[in-house]
Subunit: 425 residues, 2 copies
């Protein structure tokens, strides 16, 4: 069968063993193709009723009593569901605060533990706010550290040699996104972690674009620290509480800079002298946002049910398929591939670059009569990110999105739109 035909996409969907998971998500707009699960995952069908239960029964009926009936341990309950998805033990993970606050806490703790070492290494492809947090820490520690950003030569990824060069022999901390937000370039977690350790550096992974989209094995890679959000491929909802991971043997050596109630040894003794809790709980701070925290639970169940290896297999089939369609339909229209060609170097989204990327994205989300609304996202300066969430995206969606991209550029339909300062969606 012609792999560039619609029939091929339909056949792929028909034989997709994970296809039934699509029905476990709510899609309210019939005419929609959602390819932005790498920014905000769709709403699991089970979530509204579950959240309403938390609101009406736990808050409304249980009131303060719910703290002793599920709330105190909800961060741990969510951690238990997340741990197998990232290859960690359940007492190495906790759900708390935002990704930035977690990065701040762990990077601070690492710099303290590594006192005397003055290098901090990241890369220029990292999510800017991760860089901001590190810049803030450099200032906090009295500008004694140097923040070095490993460089990219192709705009897509960073080589091991370049990391090796930047690490040198004074690095306290190597902090990288496992899957890069623009290009979906994916580091070899094991090799990079090993390289960091060879240089005496601690390794901190930001898993925001990786968790739920690629199988992760923090333990097998001997990773020291990790953080990540839960609202992308984990489908925990807008701004859902983030997570952090600290390898078991490091927990007692590290200290959170924010000495909060929930990280205290015996919070209800109301002792006036802080003593950190044992284990991972010491990285908690204040009272968790229960509604946002609880919403993660039904979402994580779906990923565990589907299995990360199955999801990865489907994701690779779909991103490879998208790249095949790109070559056939879009490369002739001036698009370039902004993601790695090699599947083992790629997460679950694909970036297509085009000088008119912003206006093309505008056209995708503003269809003409009879067309579908297609939601990608745009990233400066010329990236159209197409996120494939294997838990719910179909082959036919990928096919139709490519057809629409081709149509928009062929007919210069993007010329109907203006370049604005704000983000597209």
């Amino acid at each position: 069968m012609d792999i560039f035909s619609k029939a091929f996409a339909q056949e792929q969907d028909a034989s997709d063993k994970l296809a039934h998971f699509r029905g476990k998500f709510i899609q309210k707009e019939e005419n929609l193709i959602y390819l932005d699960g790498n920014s905000l995952g769709m709403l699991p069908s089970a979530s509204p009723a579950f959240i309403n239960e938390v609101v009406e029964e736990e808050w409304g009926r249980g009131l303060i009593r719910s703290w002793n009936h599920g709330w105190y341990t909800r961060a741990q309950e969510a951690a238990r569901k997340l741990a197998p998805l990232i290859g960690a033990q359940e007492d190495e993970v906790i759900i708390t605060d935002s990704t930035s606050v977690n990065l701040f806490k762990l990077a601070y703790a690492a710099l303290k533990l590594q006192e005397g070492r003055r290098g901090i290494v990241s890369d220029e492809l990292n999510f800017p706010s991760d860089i901001y947090v590190l810049q803030g820490l450099v200032k906090m520690f009295g500008n004694q550290h140097t923040l070095r950003l490993a460089k990219t030569t192709d705009g897509i990824g960073v080589s091991l040699d370049e990391l090796d060069y930047q690490l040198r022999n004074d690095t306290a901390l190597l902090s990288l996104s496992h899957v890069v937000f623009k290009s979906a370039f994916m580091y070899d977690m094991k090799k990079v972690t090993q390289l960091a350790h060879e240089h005496g550096a601690m390794m901190l992974w930001d898993l925001s674009h990786a968790a739920g989209s690629v199988p992760l094995d923090l333990n097998a890679c001997n990773a020291d620290l990790a953080i990540g959000c839960t609202y992308k491929y984990l489908n925990g909802g807008p701004g859902a509480t983030a997570f952090l991971y600290v390898r078991k043997d490091l927990q007692e050596k590290l200290e959170s800079p924010i000495w909060g109630w929930f990280g205290q040894h015996q919070p209800f003794d109301f002792n006036l002298n802080y003593k950190p809790a044992e284990g991972i709980a010491r990285f908690l701070a204040g009272t968790p946002p229960l509604l946002s925290l609880s919403a993660i639970l039904p979402a994580l169940d779906l990923l565990n049910e589907a299995g990360m290896d199955n999801l990865r297999q489907k994701s690779l089939t779909q991103t490879n398929y998208l790249i095949d369609l790109f070559r056939h339909y879009l490369q002739p229209q001036g698009f370039e591939l902004g993601s790695p060609e090699q599947e083992h170097e790629r997460g679950s989204h694909v970036s297509l670059r085009h000088p008119e990327a912003y206006r093309i994205c505008k056209a995708l989300i503003s269809p003409e009569v009879g067309e579908k609304v297609i939601i990608p996202d745009f990233r400066e300066p010329d990236n159209i990110r197409l996120g494939i969430a294997p838990l719910y995206n179909t082959f036919i969606e990928v096919f139709e999105a490519v057809q629409q991209l081709k149509y928009i550029v062929e007919n210069k339909r993007y010329e109907d739109f203006r370049r604005e300062k704000e983000n597209v969606t």
Copy 2:
């Protein structure tokens, strides 16, 4: 009429101009008297549908597009509703993170601005986690600061003289809870702020037990900084996003230690060099927990509708009434008043002390057949806190709670229960 009679309580309720607000809260358990709104406010009737709208429509239908249709400015939207309740301008308040994280950010910023001054003053009645955060900062700044805790002589409050003594001439920051969590002792915000300024110290108020229960005027008191939670008298839901206040003229002088995306000048430029946003937004960090943040909106509407002066008037009538009942019914049974006698020194809860406080609380929440469930909370070592939320608590509830307390002690019903390590509820 006999003010100690049930009929008096009923008459008070009948003439209460705020009585209709009780119907704007959900009470699922008919037999319940909830006197713990100072820990977790009740569920506003409007909240479940509103939260469900955020889940099903904003997340489920709008998906990523909702960021440009309300989510980016939700923290500001909530701040606009909160500002009048605490006497601040709307561009001086923002809803973000937890109370502990906000205290950390603002106290850190204040200590940096006040570099050279080495004193930090709080009091021994402050909520322990506020003390923990300050202890953590002392360590972070290299143990160059001294944390001094003003002492109480009566276990209830702290005198201005004692604060004056502790402030001395080296204090960088005075950090106090405006209403003390155990006793409900309330500082004179204007006088204390003035005292701090006379000593060259910055003033940071924790309004967690004050916001929504007493009228506040941060501007008129010339307060520098404030933080607080939104899940107590503000009824924002369990772990609802906290707030922070920075006086307008200080905003550009202070810098958050956590350099996150939402506090950056132009987040969507994805610039690799952090530049703080203008104004109060610079104290934001990561992506806000949208469900928990949104739940605050309908709750704040109720408080604005009722008006803080009306609420304070009812609150004082009710706490005075409770203290009258205490003298008549409970003092003879061995209870002592753990809150200020003077109404102008008191927030909206009343602490009753008894050597068997823990087991009495257990008995209150575990009624015999035909009795009501009464929810207070217990605070070490011997405090029964009775929180009066004037927005929904009735006089008859206060009356019945006192009768039940009397019955439990008279009949030693608390002897059916064991003292345990965990919190009562």
